[in-house]
């Protein structure tokens, strides 16, 4: 079966996020004073072929940890979603 995976990679809590902080500093000037605690991260989408959802999830987690995130400073979450077999896109 084919699954669509989305991995979000975020800096671990407590790790400085200069990008998020810089964006937050810019917001009042744009009239967005109501926005706070901006954190910048990365997101990846891919298709994964697997026997079942559990396997797909495990493999995606593995990929996130080993390649997409640097566990020393980043955490990652995986979301999965089934895809109609073949045909589409």
């Amino acid at each position: 079966m084919k699954f669509a995976a989305r991995v979000e990679v975020r800096l671990r809590p407590g790790i400085a996020d200069p990008e998020g902080a810089t964006i937050e500093r810019a917001l009042p000037a744009l009239g967005f004073d109501e926005v706070r605690e901006v954190r910048a991260g990365r997101s990846f989408r891919f298709e994964i072929e697997a026997a079942d959802a559990a396997t797909a999830g495990r493999r995606a987690e593995e990929l996130a940890r080993r390649l997409l995130a640097n566990p020393v400073i980043e955490d990652s979450d995986v979301e999965l979603q089934g895809l109609e077999p073949a045909g589409e896109r």
């Binding site: 800096l11 671990r12 407590g14 790790i15 400085a16 996020d17 200069p18 902080a21 810089t22 500093r25 640097n70 566990p71 020393v72 400073i73």
Partner: protein, 750 residues
């Protein structure tokens, strides 16, 4: 104050003896905050407790020296009312844990050491040591470190103009990242990291304080790496912010231009604890610090966390109360946060105290100097390696048979441009010779500097393969190479900085290596009249109990009187004669020593033997001769040399090949005394290309410098004819491929 539970001091890296010493200093049990202060400040990284006793033997005086070791950076008088600040520092362990951020924050730290002196950072050089790139983890480290230096240095706006790259399995588990920075200032504007003036304000500039590297440098920099490098060290990884640093540089230099600060100090290892105690101790005053006034990035931080946090991009400025409004306004313009966090004290009854407050509560009260200058110093036991004699006997010079010199030559070629293409090396329009040359050569110009036609040159050099065989002789040969490199761009050496990367100082052999290195460097500096103006020591570079080879990295600063034209490059031009300057043979039995050469190591896996001899006078003559010729050219005078390149790693063979590839021409050389003369790293030899060989040889003779025409550039092959037949016969296409493919090839593969 609550007495600390006994084991805490050990957790904070203090020995029982050190705790006893703290109790003696305070006349009572320290509380937790005070213990934390001593823990970070007495760490190897901040206190140099194992190395100070040796460092003291380095010569530091010189007529151009304005500031020597002991401050954040050394400062040298460059003439025309311009002073040059220079410093080198390691960021080895952080880079092993998170290569990109580790290297990036290393750049940030060394820049702060320079603008702390009032100098605008103008150039960076990086010396990098990894295991061979044929392994995925090494490629991850290399890519991360280089991208870290690139993204931080380029963004903060300081060109990276030089450096070096060493691959050796010894560094696979413990890579080395040393970064040198050079800056310039109006000589009359020199500032020091001192507090003074009772009632003056201690102002914290820059980033908010988080839990970054709590005890981080102490932990990261003072504990060896074993197995997988992350785990326990995770919380200590820090993220650099070049944008904050850029604004901090502009704000601090503007504050200094406006004469608004009395003293200024960067926050590096040990954060506020270090900056407050060092400025107070250097100024012989006391300081009251209020942790409640320190802007935080995270909630519920304990006072000791605030005092020892190593959050990046922060400075401590000492300003008079009446200057405060102006300081606030100027920082506001650059969007740099400025907070009053303390005051300078001068209490006659209890002078020189560092008092830490939380609002109106006093949390700690210690003598500032006891954290800084008066930290413990150890004379650790030392012992030469047991097999020293056997190692000397095991020499490859005579015993290694002739092989396929062409193949060996190709194997020794490395094009480092994969690294430096990622560095902005041109910003400020000063870079006359950038990375890829023998030394970087820069116009001595920058925003706010008086006009000048002078130039500065800088080179970083190291040769662990030499230092492993004989640290004392090895480091002298490294300094010799630096001097030759500077000569090739027409500069005379004026000052040295050094970064001493060694293993575990609890191993007596490592202490012996350190001691031998310091003595070898001291001797070499004395014969050439060079002062050591600064440096840094990195110990505990070991993996699973195995120490790295002794790795002193030298940064040498050179000056040029007049820089109005481009120097000859390390290239051959078709038709030019190839002249070897300097003695071709070593005195004594072994004419072409191979011990310690890249050839012995990389082609024959031989790491022992007896290093080539160095004759300091002869070396000074050859280097001085070449420096004078090139200085003539760049000063707008004659151009006797079409190309010039010192003979160093890989010997004559590699020097020839590099010049030929760069010039896009072949070359024919004859009369070479076998593979030994082709690959020996015998010092004090410089290769020149000229269309006036007779004139060059005549001038060399007059200067007492041996000179021999060994060949001619031209054609599309590199041909090296030995006394007993052809040694090398390769097409330039093959040669250029080995050169260009070597590094990029392995690093671009996924």
């Amino acid at each position: 104050m609550t007495a600390a539970p006994a084991p805490l001091h050990r957790a904070l890296g203090l020995t029982d003896e050190e705790l006893a010493r703290v109790v003696e200093i305070l006349g009572r049990q320290p509380n937790e905050l005070e213990l934390a202060l001593y823990g970070v400040m007495w760490s190897e990284h901040c206190s140099y407790k194992s190395s100070r006793v040796h460092l003291q033997r380095l010569p530091t005086a010189g007529e151009r020296v304005l500031v020597g070791p002991g401050e954040n950076a050394g400062v040298v008088d460059a003439g025309d009312g311009i002073a040059v600040a220079i410093r080198i520092e390691s960021h080895n362990h952080p880079s092993a844990v998170e290569p990109h951020q580790g290297a990036a924050t290393g750049v940030g730290g060394i820049l702060r050491d320079i603008f702390t002196m009032g100098a605008r950072p103008l150039a960076v050089a990086d010396a990098l040591f990894f295991g061979p790139p044929d392994d995925a983890r090494q490629r991850w480290l290399i890519d991360g470190v280089v991208s870290g230096i690139s993204s931080y240095g380029n963004s903060v706006g300081v060109p990276t103009v030089g450096g070096e790259l060493t691959f050796d399995p010894c560094y696979a588990g413990n890579p080395l990242v040393n970064v040198l920075c050079l800056g310039a200032l109006r000589a009359d504007r020199l500032v020091l990291g001192r507090a003074s003036g009772r009632g003056n304000l201690a102002v914290l500039l820059g980033s908010a304080t988080g839990r970054d590297g709590i005890g981080g440098v102490s932990v990261l920099a003072s504990a060896g790496l074993s197995g997988r490098a992350d785990g326990a060290k995770r919380p200590n990884v820090q993220v650099g912010d070049p944008f904050e640093e850029k604004r901090l540089i502009e704000a601090c230099l503007a504050l200094l231009d406006a004469g608004l600060v009395v003293g200024i100090q960067d926050l590096g290892g040990a954060g506020l604890a270090c900056a407050t105690s060092e400025t107070a101790a250097r100024g012989g005053v006391g300081m009251d610090v209020d942790v409640a006034a320190v802007p935080r990035r995270e909630p519920q931080m304990a006072p000791w966390e605030v005092m020892t946090s190593e959050s990046q991009e922060r400075m401590l400025a000492i300003v008079t109360p009446d200057a405060w409004p102006a300081v606030e306004a100027l920082c506001g313009r650059w969007e740099v946060q400025a907070s009053m966090i303390g005051t300078v004290t001068d209490d006659a009854r209890r002078p020189g105290r560092l008092r830490v407050h939380d609002g109106d509560r006093i949390l700690g009260d210690v003598p500032a100097a006891s954290l800084a200058q008066d930290a413990p110093r150890y004379e650790r036991p030392m012992r030469p390696p047991a097999d020293l004699e056997r190692a000397r006997a095991d020499d490859p010079s005579a015993s290694e048979p002739l092989g396929d010199c062409g193949a060996e030559l190709r194997a020794l070629l490395v094009d480092p441009s994969w690294v430096y293409r990622q560095y902005d090396h041109q910003l400020f329009l000063n870079t006359v010779v950038g990375p890829g040359g023998d030394a970087a050569l820069l116009r001595l110009a920058g925003p706010g500097l008086p006009p000048s036609e002078r130039g500065v040159a800088v080179t970083t050099d190291s040769a662990p393969r030499w230092c492993a065989i004989d640290p004392r002789a090895g480091v002298a040969l490294v300094l010799a190479e630096s001097v030759a490199n500077l000569a090739c761009v027409g500069a005379s050496p004026v000052a040295v900085v050094n970064c001493l990367n060694f293993g575990n100082p609890e191993h007596p052999e490592v202490v012996w290596q350190l001691s031998e290195t310091v003595d070898g460097l001291a001797e070499a500096c004395r014969v050439w009249g060079l002062p050591v103006v600064g440096g840094n020591v990195s110990l505990y570079n070991e993996t699973d109990g195995v120490d790295i080879p002794p790795t002193p990295v030298l940064g040498v600063l050179g000056l040029v009187e007049r820089l109005v034209d481009r120097p000859p490059e390390p290239v051959l031009a078709a038709g030019a004669s190839v002249v070897l300057l300097g003695a071709r043979r070593a005195p004594g039995a072994v004419a072409h020593p191979l011990a310690g050469s890249r050839w012995a190591l990389e082609c024959r896996d031989r790491r022992r033997g007896v290093l080539p001899p160095l004759d300091p006078e002869a070396h000074a003559r050859v280097s001085g001769f070449v420096a004078a010729l090139v200085a003539e050219t760049i000063g707008g005078g004659g151009r006797l040399l079409d190309g010039v390149h010192d003979v160093s790693g890989g010997g004559l063979g590699v020097a020839l090949a590099e010049m030929a590839v760069a010039g896009g021409t072949g070359v024919v050389v004859s009369g070479i005394d076998g593979h030994a003369e082709l690959f020996t790293e015998l010092p004090s030899r410089i290769l020149a290309a000229t269309s006036h060989p007779a004139a060059l040889c005549a001038r060399a003779a007059a200067a007492g410098v041996p000179a021999a025409v060994i060949g001619r550039a031209g054609g599309d092959r590199i041909l090296v004819e030995g006394r007993a037949g052809m040694l090398v016969d390769l097409s330039m296409t093959e040669l250029a491929e080995s050169w260009a493919g070597s590094l990029a090839g392995s690093l671009e593969r996924a």
